[in-house]
Structures are given as structure tokens and as C-alpha cells.
């Protein structure tokens, strides 16, 4: 069945629908990782977004039981160039399409994803609608035969004779895209109730860490428990009092989706925790929340950083790390108070990628030390935070 991606600016792609045969609306973003689609699909930070993979062959190794980063996929849709229908991997127990269908997520393949990426790079992140032909007029399922499925760019039709009914329907989809507002996606992805994770038996017990779940990736939790730290994961709505009652040695503010300015309770909680002197570590959205709590400002990036190849400079050592990114927002450097030091910067566009507080035990990074997907070389950041907790105890 044919599927469509219609952007708010009137760009239209026709491709083949896969996954769940339904429509969906979201913010369209691209990711340049060449592997790791399963981790990306299940990274809660993508809640509210339709993800485009720039690497053209996706689904080759299927879906396996081990590489989930959360309880379910949170993307609104998934767009690829070539979809592998018959994967090959010893761990695979499902195809990508089956997995998306099972989770009610629509997919689109067979379109010129590079053209789409270039468009997003120029125009910045756009809202868009994925739709399947069965939701539209009868003509929607006909092959329109344009290379790469690019029917219209920026409102300019490349097909001279488009059936009026189809044109009307696509215009309607464009309006839907324009009307889309991503509202507090953290509430969709956070855990409804607190839960505890204990390290496997036989390991030396380390101090407890509380993770505020704004959309935490499992590998963050996995790394901590593997290192022997008991972890309590609390909902994004947990208050500082509730957290302090757990007597944590440190609190990790997790990654998560959306605009940090929407996470007002989280910012307030972070501020209280800071005042209580609890060591804090922020990842991604967690960094933005820390930044806001310290009085800084966040800004929306033009098209964000999403990929596994981003060079970040450790400003203290001068060393370069290749890091895994997924952020559409960042802290504005000039807004940060003087007691905050920028510890990491993007080598490409100088975005603030890590900060620390000079007087308080507060550290954060804008990227993903837990990788999954992406390079594993920044795990040291998490380890350093945890070691810090050992010392404090």
C-alpha cells in the first residue's frame, strides 16, 4: 500500500507504507546513525517525532529481544529508503515492519530520504504527517512514479496531473501537520510508578542512585546496576521531597523528549535537590533541566543533533570524543551563571555539550554516555559521577 509523508511546508513524498497501516503526526527529524535503529525506535527521547534514517538500508538485522531501550517504541513514525523484509541475524526474532505494526507505529519506505534530509537541513525541523492510502481517496494508492517519491517540494508540485481529490486530501494533511503541537511528551514516556533495580547478587553494594525518569534509556540503568549501584527510578512528576526521602547518594536526571521549558516541575525539583546538596548528573534533557534550574536558558536548534558521529571536545583535557547525540534543544552558553563552567563543546557547531558547577556537585552532558546506539567511549562520564558518589559516602 502507498504511504505519504506530508510536511507543513507543502513538501510531499509518496512511498510504500509499512508497519501499522495508520496515519500519525509529529515533528520530522533525521538521524545519521548507520546502525542502531532498534535503539532509536525505543529511545523515549523521540516521543512525538517521526524519525528519518539517513542510512538507506534499514531493517537488515531485524529486531532482537536484547536491544530495546525502553518498554516500547515512542516514535510517531519511521521513514527509510530501503526496508529489509527478511532480516538476517542470529538474535532476530521479528522484522522491523512486524515490530512497528505490533506497536501501532506507521512507517514509510522507498522515498528519497537524502532529499528529505537536505530539505530539513535547510528549513530546520518541520512538522509532518504520515498517512496511508487507505485513509485517502481511491487515487491515493496509485503509483505516481516519481523517482524517490518526491511529489512536491515546498508547495511546488512536480507532478502536473494530480487527481483533485488526492490534492485536496494532501492539502488537508498539510493542515494537520501545521496544527500539530507536541504537548508535554515527558508525561507520555515516564514511568507511572517508581521502581527499584538491584545489582545482581554477589556484587559489592554501592550507594543508591535515584533516576528521575523523563524518558530514561535502559542502558543508563544497566550501566549503573552492572557497576553495582542500586537504582530507584521515579516518575518525572516525583517531588524533591519524595526523592530525598529515598536518601539517594546522587540523583541522575535522565534524557527525555520535548522542550525542557515544558518540564516545569522537573526544573523545580532539580533546584530543590541542588539546594539540598545532592550530587546531580544530567543527561540530555537532564542537562537542560539542570541548566534551567541554575538560571540558564534553553534554545531550539535548527535541525538538532541526531547521530552517532558527533565530535565533542572535553574543554578541560582538550581530548575529542566521538559521541552519540539526540537533542533538538541546547543550553545557551551566554545565559549560564558564572559559577557554571562549560566542560564539553561540539566541535562542529560549538553547542554546549557539557557543564559543571564550580561549587556544587553538579555535572551534566547534552549527549549520551550510555551510547546505545553509538560509540561507547563516553561511558567514563557516568563512571566518574558514580565514583564521585563513592567518595561522598
Amino acid at each position: 500500500m502507498k504511504g505519504y509523508l506530508v510536511l507543513e511546508d507543502g513538501t510531499v513524498f509518496q512511498g510504500e507504507a509499512f508497519g501499522a497501516p495508520r496515519g500519525n503526526v509529529g515533528e520530522v527529524v533525521f538521524n545519521t546513525s548507520m546502525t542502531g535503529y532498534q535503539e532509536i525506535l525505543t529511545d523515549p527521547s523521540y516521543a512525538g517525532q517521526i524519525v528519518v534514517m539517513t542510512y538507506p538500508l534499514v531493517g537488515n538485522y531485524g529486531i532482537n529481544p536484547e536491544d530495546f531501550e525502553s518498554r516500547q517504541p515512542f516514535v510517531r513514525g519511521f521513514v527509510v529508503k530501503e526496508l529489509c523484509m527478511d532480516p538476517s541475524h542470529w538474535q532476530a526474532n521479528q522484522t522491523l515492519s512486524e515490530y512497528l505494526a505490533q506497536n501501532e507505529i506507521p512507517g514509510l519506505y522507498g522515498i528519497d530520504t537524502r532529499a528529505l534530509t537536505r530539505h530539513l537541513r535547510v528549513k530546520g525541523t518541520l512538522r509532518g504527517v504520515l498517512a496511508t492510502a487507505n485513509e485517502g481517496p481511491a487515487e491515493a494508492d496509485q503509483e505516481l512514479g516519481e523517482g524517490g517519491g518526491l511529489l512536491a517540494l515546498d508547495g511546488q508540485w512536480r507532478i502536473p496531473h494530480l487527481p483533485p481529490s488526492l490534492r485536496r486530501w494532501l492539502a488537508e494533511l498539510q493542515h494537520q501537520a501545521q496544527a500539530f503541537v507536541l504537548s508535554r511528551p515527558v508525561l507520555e514516556v515516564t514511568t507511572p510508578t517508581a521502581y527499584h533495580l538491584e545489582p545482581e547478587d554477589g556484587r559489592r553494594r554501592k550507594p543508591r542512585v535515584v533516576v528521575v525518569d523523563f524518558g530514561v534509556k535502559r542502558n543508563i540503568l544497566r550501566i549503573m546496576t552492572d557497576l553495582g549501584y542500586p537504582v530507584t527510578v521515579v516518575p518525572a512528576t516525583a517531588t524533591a521531597e519524595e526523592i530525598l526521602a529515598l536518601e539517594p547518594a546522587g540523583v541522575l536526571l535522565s534524557n527525555g523528549p520535548g522542550d525542557p521549558q515544558d518540564v516545569r516541575e522537573g526544573v523545580a525539583t532539580a533546584r530543590t535537590l541542588m539546594e539540598a546538596g545532592v550530587p546531580l548528573f544530567g543527561i540530555c534533557l537532564g542537562q537542560q533541566i539542570i541548566g534551567l534550574a541554575l538560571g540558564g536558558k534553553s534554545i531550539k536548534l535548527k535541525f538538532g543533533h541526531r547521530g552517532a558521529n558527533h565530535p565533542v571536545k572535553d574543554c578541560l583535557t582538550g581530548r575529542i570524543y566521538i559521541t552519540s547525540h539526540n537533542h533538538g534543544y541546547a543550553l545557551e552558553e551566554s545565559s549560564l551563571p558564572p559559577e557554571v563552567v562549560v566542560t564539553h563543546r561540539s566541535l562542529n557547531d560549538h553547542t554546549v555539550e557539557g557543564i559543571m558547577h564550580t561549587q556544587r556537585p553538579i555535572w551534566s552532558v547534552q549527549y549520551h554516555p550510555e551510547a546505545s546506539p553509538g560509540p561507547q567511549e563516553s561511558r567514563y562520564l557516568l563512571e566518574r559521577f558514580l565514583t564521585e558518589l563513592d567518595r561522598k559516602k
Binding site: Q38, Y61, P87, S88, R114, P311, P375, E377
Partner: protein
């Protein structure tokens, strides 16, 4: 960290001649390195005796030494140039080994030269099997169960312990020379025996086999500050068991989860940190296809063939960055040359698939096994890029120029199931076609995967192609809808294949396709998957949506490259194509390169204004031409196509391109044809009064026999339109001729076979450049071997020292007339034979020849550059070339086919005082089972040159540069054919006089006995004694003269064994009496005390002969 201030002069070691396992990739990486270092304001001294390279052009380095890559010569260069640093990691294994030797001999310390880049300690640790294993153990990286052995018995007992099969890898050899896969004790003993001899340290490794595991490679870079990145990973489609150089490789990996990808990436980075690499490094892994187990197979602490491939596959110039790292820069200081805005410290994100397929030389050697193993046999490779795997795969197949447009292969389609099974189970160069055929026959992927160990993913992708073949055939021409065509093109189908499937020719499909508006778009290789704006003009075609290549207005010319490196069409042609691109720029014409060879300088995106990485077929080339400003955009600003530099590849394209209305720059197509077409050419020669050996063109066997009867045996037979003497032979009798016609060639009306009288005289070769009025002979080269040995396999001397004045004048006269009559606008190469005091023309090639780069160095004349500028309308006079006061000039009037009568003149470029000798280099060691002989069929893979005041010195240097061990004394073995007995006597006498002990076998012994030349007779193998081979193996014989028993083709088992054993143990083996005579004369002329100077190319010709 800024660049190191104390470094002002850096010595770079090149990799020497092209051999299997060490090829054009080092010209690419070397050229990049030279540019990168000079950009930083340092001076570069280069040593590399390979004239066929861009890197050895005078303008590329500050000082260029075409001298042998031996410690003695390099020491002399160091003493003369006093560099502060030596960069050894860009010259392949040769460079590394030489640096190690220089360091160990204390030379570097003596002259205060520091090895820059990766430290020697790291190189040793990576190369020495034992040390490497130790290091891996210490950092917890898994390696194979293995043991280092120095004897066959040790090998056997270890193998018993870990079980067969095992892999044998000799230490410190190129491309795994001498290694192998042993299934049992007998095979093991054989391989180890050979491997121990080939290893310079007499060591080899016996290793547990992970045959059938996935083979994954990472190209990693690390700087002196400890920043490290993985530029690219690659997956070998052929699993472990086939040398990566012989494997079909895809970038990036396709079947690895992120967990696996990152696991191996982390391991690769851990390894380069542990080694302390400062520069590039290649890490090879074997990954269990059914678990997360892996082992580190190998680490190459330098740039390599894989890094060249990775550079072209990603757009990230590894060698350039590695060179900058070596002089102290760090990754975060070096700009990403692709985006111009980001830095070298990042990892390329690909949004396409790159597929590499090796090109093998098997068609050159009858009876050779096509089985692939751990010893590399490919001479070159192609790469193709597309947005789908089948698309990239099929483009790569067309790029190979092996007569296949896609996965259809008539012979394999006829094979019975059993044979097909064998073709799939045993790795070989045709396995891909066999898999496709098995799928056509409905075999399950499981069966194919079990037989081949190739991953299901790749088999299923090939299955998509096979399924499309079926759909196209079913649809027929009338059923070719727009969407079906689009689908087929997305999967990489050529118009030709679609045509075959629906019963039409390629042009009919092209017309239909265009009428349905199914055309390719061009996408950019930008290192960042479109995340950042890039400026690199590096494109590939795809049947996808958006076209990104927007050529600017203004005149443009297309330069056709020469495709994969193969025997007969080597790096020399890439050299000329690069010069063509440069010269066009100078003329203010945008140069547009089309080529598919990932190893070369021509496919460096800096070489031309725009690079299209495409197959060199009529369809693909026409697509680019239309894209660049033909009918599509209605901007007719394509000046034309330059075809004379792309070897036979480009020549084959010129006819069809001209037919399609594409203007060809330079010599008109009809004239090229007149030079190649037997009948037309004979007519021309008759008009000009120039002789050629009598002969004719035959389209039937009987006709060939009639011609031979008329002119008398022996005759030289060959198919028309070939390069590198493909299937060219001398036959002595009618039965041989009939056998040749029946088996060696396909003869038809359009493809006649040429039968010529074989004249065994002195061969002379000329390269000239003409603008249609003035003919400038760049140089007259004299071949050491008489006619009958392919010119590419002959030793050539320039200036010719043994050619009489009258002959020279005749050669000037003939060449001038030929060039004028053929309206040559550009290059022309003419081969002559002097027989009985008379000059005959053997061959005329109105295009760039193999000797163009050699003459550029030896004579200081930039022929390719001049020819390009002439092709776009310049005259030689405009370029500043006219005969000097002393130059003899000939004037001629000739009639053109148009009836026009023109007048022109010819002259010879002034010859230098120094003599240059070009020596061919063979890859015998890599091609097991091939007899070591010279014939009209070319077999050499590369060349070197030596230059000095006389022939003896120049030849001596060239032989050393070629890697031969040239003995001054010792034992010489003489074992020659009956008919060579007389000629061998003076040589034997001379060797004896020089103090050589002579061993003579069979008839040679009798002949020596008769004239009382002191010698020791020795039994040959068929006389019941294998001692002769043992002596060779043990290094007790230092020189072998062994000629092929001429009338017993393929039936000279003793000679075969002697010659094979000699080359496998690197004993100088002379198989032609002319070569032997030259070598003996050389030994007579130079002694141990003869001083051999080293001199830089920049000093050879300046300033007198530089225009």
C-alpha cells in the same frame, strides 16, 4: 597541537613497483601525503623508483629520487638531503620494512633522522606476530589460538594439538605472500616450507581457523594527542578464508547490530591506543555469525589498500590526514576537506552503499586455478556507489570490464547442478554469478549460505536482482512500464541487460527509458549524510528523487579513466588521465572525471573539477555527459570527451560515443580505427611506403592457415583490438596455429585474428605527440629483448644506445608520416622491429601508451599534459615547442582521407646524457602454478626505472629497484632449451670469468663440456634428482638462466619447476637470453667498487630541456 616546528624537511618512502598486494593505492596515498605535508610549508624528499606514478612527477615533491628502495641507496639519499624526519607509513609494507632496516642499521641515528608518525615500536608490535599476540592478551582482546614456528615439524605438532584446518601466515611479507590454508599435514608441510623461506625472518604463524566467520574491517586514525576515530567499517561478503584484497567488500557493514558494530569499534580503538599509532591503521576482525564471539585477525599500522578504499567509500581522505598527524597536527585542528567547515575529528556517516569487487588476472594465464584463498591474487579493484545494495553490486560488475553487464553469465548458466554447487562452495572469482544462477534455479538461500558461508542478507539481495530478471523477461519489451523500468534501474540493471531480457538492444531501452523520463540523478559523497553543506564535487548516480549535481556553466570536458588495474592496463593510464584533468584546468576548461577505480589518484576528488564514480560503459558515460550539459539541460557546453588516456577501456567507448553524437577531443575516431583496422592500416602503410611484417587478418581458421603458409612460420597471432597482448602468441607449426584458433580466441567477422610473420629483431618503441602539423618524438626507446616479448614485459633503454643513426632517422621519418597521415592530435605510440637492417612497423596506437610516464621522467617531457592541451585546440608551437638549433627535422607532405594534402614536420626531443632503464616487475610469487616465461602476452604487473651515466649502472639500479637480488658472485644454474645452446655459451664463459661457479643441466652441460667451459653438471628432476630444487630452496644458487623449450608449450616440467622454485625463493631468474646477455654485460661492467650516485629528478633536466 600545532605542527612540529623543528621539522623542515621530511623524507617519504614510496612503495616501489606495482605488484599484486601492493598496487596503485600507494600512489594515491603517497600523492595525498606529499600534498598534505607541503601545504604545511615543509619540504618533502621522496624516494620511489616507480615512474608510472603521479607521486614521482617532478612537481609533486621538492626532491624526487627514482632510486632503489634499499637501505644503501636510501642512506645515500639521507646523507645528501639531510631530512629531519622520515615518514615510513605511506609506502606500504616496503616502506615499513625499509624504515625498520634503516633504524636497526643505525642509519637514522647517524644522520639524526627521526621516524615521524607511528613509532617504530608500534610497527614492530603490530607486525611481529608474537609481540602482537602478547599485546592483545595484555589488553584483553581475543586473538586466534596460534603458535610461531620456525620449522615444519613444529608446525605439524602444533596443528595436531589445535586441529585442522589451520592457516599459515609468514611474518613480514606483502599481502600474505606465501601463506595458505592447510586442511591436512601434507598441505601444511608444503606451505610452511615455502612460507619460512619467504619470510625475511624465517618465521611463520600457524593459526586456528575461523573459516566462515564474518570478516569485518575498521579503518582507524589516531593523533599524537590520543584522539582516535573510526573512519569506516567494512564487511567482507566473502567470509574469513579469502584474503580481504580478493573479497567482495561492502561499506559500511550491513549485517551488524549497533551492539556488534560498537563492540568491534571499541576494540579497534583500544588496539590503536595500546599500540600508540600516530596515523592510520587497519584492524581486521572475524566475528562469529552466530554469537558475539570475535577475534582480532590482523592489524596493519599504516595506510593500505583498505584505507584507500575507505577513503573513496566515505570521502574522508585518510592518507592526507595521516600525513598531517605525522607532522604533529591533531584531528581537531585539521579541517574536514569535504565540508570545509567541520573538522577531521568526526566519523563519516554514509547514506549510500559502496561495493568493491576485485579484478583478477586469471584470463591471462591459461590453466590457472581460479580458487581464492589467503594469498591475494587480484591485480586491481573497482568500487561502485548506490542507494541500494543491488544497485551498487551491478554497477561494480559492469565496472570490472569482464564482459558482464550484470549477474547473467552464459557459461555458468549452462553448468550442471553439481558444478554449480562446487562454484559456490569453493571461493572463486565467479562465485557471485554462480549464486545468482542457483537462485534462478530456485535453490533456497539456506542451501547457498551453507555452501558458501555467505550471509543470508547478501544472498537475499542478489535474489532481488534475480527476481527482477524474471519480471523483466516476463514483461517483455511491451510490458516495460515506467514503474517497472524505474524499479529495475533502482536495482542497478543496465540498459544492456534489460535489453537482453526483453529481446532488444541497449539503445532501444535507452530511448524508451528517456521517453518515459526514467533517468538517473546524481548524489554527492559528502561524509556527513547531508547533515552539513558540503562542497566536494564527488558524485554517484542513483535512480532516486533529487538531483544534486549542478554543474556550473562554462566549457567542460569529460576525461575517461581506465577502470580497474589489470595486467596490460595499469597505473600508467591513470597517470595520463590525471594529467589530462590537470591540463584541462590550465586551459580554463572544467575537467569531469569518470572512473571507478578506488585505488587511484584520478578518483581523488581534488584531481578534477567534478568526479563521477561510475562504470565506464556507454550507458553510464552518456548519462554523465547529458547530466553535465548535454541535451538534458540544453546547455551545449561540453567541449567533448578525452578518450586517449583511458587505455583500451576508453578506446572501446569512443566509437559508440561518437555514434551517439558526442564530440571526441583529439585524434578523430575514424583515424584511431584506421590505426587499429588491419586492412585500412595496410592500405595506409602502402601509401606511405612503410613496411610491416607480412601478414593478414583472418576471420576463419583456414584463412589463418593460408596466411601462415604464404608468409611462412613462425607467425605471431593475436586478436585485433587488444591491450597488453591478450592472447598473443608466436606459433611455429600449423597444428599449433589450429589449436590456437580453436581454443585461445573467438574469431568472427567483426573480430578477426591477425596473423603476422614473426621477425625476431630488435624492437624499438616511440612515443610522440602531434598537433597535426608538428610531430614531436618524445623519445626512442630500445628494448633489450628481441621482438616476441611483449613490450610491457621488455626492459627498455632510453636514450637508445644501440640504434644506428640511419635507423633513428628512419624511425623519425616513419613516425612523422604516420602521425601526419592519421591526423593525430595528441599522442601516438609506434612499435618497430629492426630486422636485417630494415625497419618494420609492428603496431601503431594513436593514444597514450604505457611508456608516457617513464618518458616524462627519463626525458623530462610532459607528454600527457601536452597532448591534452593539443586535444582542446592548442598547437605545439603555442605551447612553446619547436625544434632547437641542433635538432634534425624532417618535413613531409601527406594525403588525408579527405583528399586534402598537408605538410608538416617532425623532430626528436633532445636526449639527455643520463641513461634510464625501465624494468618490468612480475608478481610470480603471488600466482602459484604459473610458468615463469616471457611471451607476446603481457604478464608484468608493474615497472621500475633506474637512471645513471651508463646502461650498466642504470640497469643495475633498476634490477635492485625491482626487488631482485643481483649476485656479484656465487653459483649460476644454466638450464636452457636445445635451440638456445649456442647462444648460451658466451654467457656461460663470461659468468665463469666473473668467478661464478656454473651448474649446468642436460644439454647445456654437454654444450659447455664441448667448449671446455668449467662447470659442474647436475641432474634435473626428470633425470631422477630433486637436488636442483633443494639447492634453490637452500639459497645455494644465486642466478638462474632457464629458457622455455620452445616447441613443447606447456611440456617443460623441469624448467617449470626450476623457474617457479627460483622466483618463489627470490633467486634472480632470467628466462630470456637477451635479458641474460644484458645482465651478464652489466656484471662485467660494474664491480663492487663502482660508485653509484643518487640524484634527484629535479636536477636531471633543468634547465636546458625544460620548456
Amino acid at each position: 597541537m600545532p605542527k612540529r616546528q623543528e621539522l623542515e624537511r621530511v623524507l617519504v618512502i614510496g612503495s616501489g613497483p606495482i605488484i599484486i598486494g601492493q598496487a596503485a593505492e600507494f600512489d594515491y596515498s603517497g600523492t595525498q601525503a606529499l600534498q598534505a605535508i607541503r601545504e604545511e610549508g615543509l619540504q618533502v624528499i621522496l624516494v620511489n623508483p616507480n615512474p608510472a606514478t603521479i607521486m614521482t612527477d617532478a612537481q609533486m615533491a621538492d626532491r624526487t629520487y627514482l632510486e632503489p628502495l634499499t637501505p644503501e641507496f636510501v642512506e645515500r639519499i639521507i646523507a645528501q638531503e639531510r631530512p629531519q624526519g622520515l615518514l615510513p607509513t605511506l609506502g606500504g609494507q616496503i616502506g615499513l620494512n625499509l624504515a625498520t632496516q634503516l633504524s636497526e642499521a643505525g642509519v637514522l641515528q647517524k644522520y639524526g633522522v627521526e621516524l615521524i608518525g607511528t613509532p617504530l615500536q608500534a610497527i614492530r608490535q603490530a607486525e611481529d606476530r608474537g609481540a602482537f599476540k602478547e599485546l592483545m592478551r595484555s589488553i584483553g582482546e581475543p586473538v586466534l589460538e596460534s603458535a610461531i614456528v620456525t620449522s615444519v615439524s613444529e608446525a605439524l605438532s602444533f596443528a595436531e594439538q589445535i586441529g585442522f584446518p589451520v592457516i599459515v601466515r609468514p611474518a613480514y611479507t606483502l599481502g600474505g605472500t606465501g601463506g595458505g590454508f592447510a586442511r591436512n599435514a601434507k598441505e601444511l608441510a608444503e606451505i610452511v616450507n615455502r612460507a619460512l623461506k619467504l619470510s625475511p625472518i624465517g618465521q611463520c604463524l600457524i593459526e586456528q581457523s575461523v573459516f566462515g566467520w564474518k570478516e569485518i574491517e575498521y579503518e582507524v586514525l589516531r593523533d599524537s594527542a590520543g584522539n582516535a576515530i573510526a573512519v569506516c567499517n567494512m564487511e567482507n561478503i566473502d567470509p574469513v578464508g579469502v584474503h580481504t584484497g580478493d573479497s567482495i567488500v561492502v561499506a559500511p557493514s550491513q549485517t551488524l547490530t549497533d551492539r556488534e558494530y560498537q563492540m568491534l569499534r571499541s576494540s579497534a580503538l583500544k588496539i590503536i591506543h595500546a599500540l600508540g599509532i600516530q596515523g592510520g591503521c587497519n584492524v581486521q576482525f572475524a566475528l562469529n555469525p552466530r554469537s558475539r564471539d570475535y577475534v582480532v585477525i590482523e592489524v596493519n599500522p599504516r595506510v593500505s589498500r583498505s584505507s584507500a578504499l575507505a577513503s573513496k567509500a566515505t570521502g574522508y581522505p585518510i592518507a592526507k590526514i595521516a600525513a598531517k598527524i605525522a607532522i604533529g597536527l591533531t584531528l581537531d585542528e585539521i579541517k574536514n576537506p569535504v565540508t570545509g567547515t567541520t573538522y577531521a575529528a568526526f566519523e563519516p556517516a554514509l547514506d549510500y552503499v559502496a561495493v568493491k569487487i576485485p579484478r583478477f588476472p586469471f584470463e591471462k594465464f591459461s590453466g590457472i586455478s581460479r580458487t581464492l584463498g589467503t594469498q591475494m591474487q587480484a591485480t586491481g579493484e573497482v568500487m561502485a556507489i548506490d542507494r541500494t545494495f543491488p544497485g551498487a553490486l551491478q554497477k561494480a560488475i559492469r565496472s570490472l570490464e569482464i564482459g558482464r553487464d550484470g549477474l547473467r553469465h552464459p557459461d555458468i548458466q549452462k553448468a550442471p547442478d553439481k558444478a554449480l554447487e562446487q562454484k559456490i562452495a569453493t571461493p572463486n572469482d565467479e562465485r557471485l554469478f554462480a549464486i545468482a544462477e542457483a537462485l534462478r534455479r530456485g535453490w533456497e538461500w539456506k542451501v547457498i549460505s551453507q555452501l558458501s558461508h555467505i550471509d543470508k542478507f547478501f544472498i537475499q539481495e542478489i535474489g532481488q536482482i534475480v527476481e527482477m530478471e524474471r519480471r523483466l523477461a516476463q514483461a517483455g519489451y511491451d510490458g516495460l512500464t515506467r514503474s517497472l523500468l524505474r524499479e529495475a534501474k533502482r536495482l542497478g540493471f543496465s540498459d544492456a541487460t534489460i535489453g537482453q531480457l526483453v529481446g532488444k538492444d541497449a539503445l532501444a531501452i535507452r530511448r524508451l527509458r528517456k521517453s518515459l523520463d526514467v533517468r538517473p540523478v546524481y548524489k554527492m559523497v559528502d561524509t556527513c549524510a547531508a547533515e552539513f553543506e558540503a562542497t566536494t564535487p564527488y558524485y554517484y548516480s542513483a535512480y532516486d528523487g533529487e538531483n544534486e549535481a549542478k554543474p556550473p556553466l562554462g566549457p567542460k570536458a569529460i576525461v575517461l579513466g581506465s577502470g580497474p588495474i589489470r595486467i596490460g592496463q595499469g597505473i600508467e593510464f591513470d597517470y595520463s588521465a590525471v594529467h589530462a584533468a590537470w591540463a584541462l584546468r590550465e586551459e580554463g576548461i572544467q575537467s569531469v572525471m569518470i572512473n571507478n577505480n578506488p585505488e587511484t589518484v584520478s578518483t581523488d576528488f581534488n584531481t578534477s573539477d567534478r568526479l563521477y564514480f561510475e562504470p565506464l560503459t556507454v550507458e553510464d558515460v552518456l548519462n554523465v555527459i547529458e547530466q553535465e550539459g548535454g541535451e538534458w539541460t540544453d546547455k551545449h557546453d561540453i567541449a567533448g570527451v578525452v578518450a586517449q588516456f583511458g587505455g583500451q577501456t576508453a578506446i572501446h567507448l569512443s566509437g559508440p560515443l561518437a555514434k551517439a553524437g558526442v564530440p571526441l577531443l583529439g585524434t578523430p575516431v575514424e583515424e584511431v580505427d584506421r590505426g587499429e583496422d588491419r586492412e585500412k592500416f595496410d592500405k595506409l602503410l602502402a601509401e606511405l611506403g612503410i613496411s610491416r611484417p607480412p601478414g593478414g587478418a583472418a576471420v576463419t581458421v583456414d584463412e589463418a592457415v593460408r596466411i601462415a603458409d604464404r608468409i611462412g612460420y613462425p607467425v605471431l597471432v593475436r586478436p585485433s583490438y587488444v591491450l597488453g597482448g591478450r592472447a598473443m602468441e608466436i606459433v611455429y607449426r600449423e597444428e599449433e596455429l589450429r589449436a590456437y584458433m580453436a581454443t585461445a580466441v573467438e574469431v568472427s567477422e567483426t573480430r578477426p585474428v591477425l596473423v603476422d610473420k614473426y621477425l625476431p629483431g630488435k624492437e624499438i618503441e616511440v612515443d610522440a605527440v602531434s598537433d597535426g602539423r608538428q610531430v614531436l618524438i618524445g623519445g626512442i626507446l630500445e628494448h633489450i629483448e628481441r621482438a616476441g616479448v611483449h613490450s610491457g614485459d621488455s626492459i627498455a633503454v632510453y636514450p637508445a644506445t644501440d640504434v644506428h643513426r640511419e635507423i633513428r632517422e628512419q624511425v623519425l621519418d616513419y613516425t612523422t608520416r604516420l602521425a601526419l597521415a592519421l591526423s593525430v592530435k595528441g599522442l601516438i605510440n609506434v612499435q618497430y622491429v629492426v630486422h636485417g637492417g630494415k625497419v618494420y612497423v609492428l603496431e601503431v596506437n594513436p593514444r597514450a601508451s604505457r611508456t608516457v610516464p617513464f618518458l616524462a621522467k627519463a626525458a623530462g617531457i610532459p607528454l600527457a599534459h601536452m597532448a591534452t592541451r593539443i586535444a582542446v585546440g592548442r598547437t605545439l608551437e603555442e605551447l612553446g615547442y619547436r625544434p632547437g638549433p641542433g635538432s634534425p627535422v624532417v618535413r613531409h607532405q601527406v594525403n588525408l582521407p579527405s583528399g586534402q594534402r598537408i605538410e608538416g614536420y617532425g623532430w626528436i626531443w633532445p636526449e639527455p646524457n643520463r641513461v634510464s632503464v625501465k624494468v618490468p616487475v612480475f608478481s610470480w610469487q603471488k600466482l602459484g602454478g604459473v610458468d615463469v616465461t616471457l611471451s607476446p602476452e603481457m604478464k608484468s604487473t608493474g615497472e621500475v626505472m633506474g637512471t645513471d651515466r651508463d646502461v650498466a649502472r642504470a640497469l643495475y639500479k633498476a634490477l635492485l629497484a625491482a626487488g631482485y637480488r643481483v649476485p656479484r658472485k656465487g653459483t649460476a644454474l644454466i638450464s636452457v632449451a636445445e635451440h638456445d645452446q649456442d647462444e648460451i655459451l658466451p654467457l656461460a664463459a663470461a659468468l665463469s670469468a666473473l668467478g661464478f661457479r656454473i651448474l649446468a643441466s642436460g644439454a647445456a652441460a654437454k654444450a659447455l663440456e664441448a667448449v671446455k667451459i668449467p662447470h659442474t653438471p647436475i641432474h634435473t628432476i626428470s633425470e631422477g634428482s630433486p637436488r636442483i630444487l633443494d639447492l634453490l630452496r637452500n639459497g645455494d644458487i644465486h642466478l638462474v638462466i632457464s629458457t622455455l623449450a620452445r616447441h613443447d608449450r606447456g611440456e617443460d616440467p623441469d624448467g617449470f619447476l626450476i623457474r617457479r622454485t627460483a622466483v618463489e625463493h627470490n633467486v634472480l631468474c632470467l628466462v630470456n637470453l637477451d635479458t641474460a646477455r644484458a645482465v651478464v654485460q652489466m656484471l662485467e661492467t660494474i664491480s663492487q667498487e663502482t660508485p653509484l650516485d643518487v640524484s634527484a629528478l629535479q636536477d636531471w633536466h633543468s634547465p636546458v630541456s625544460q620548456v
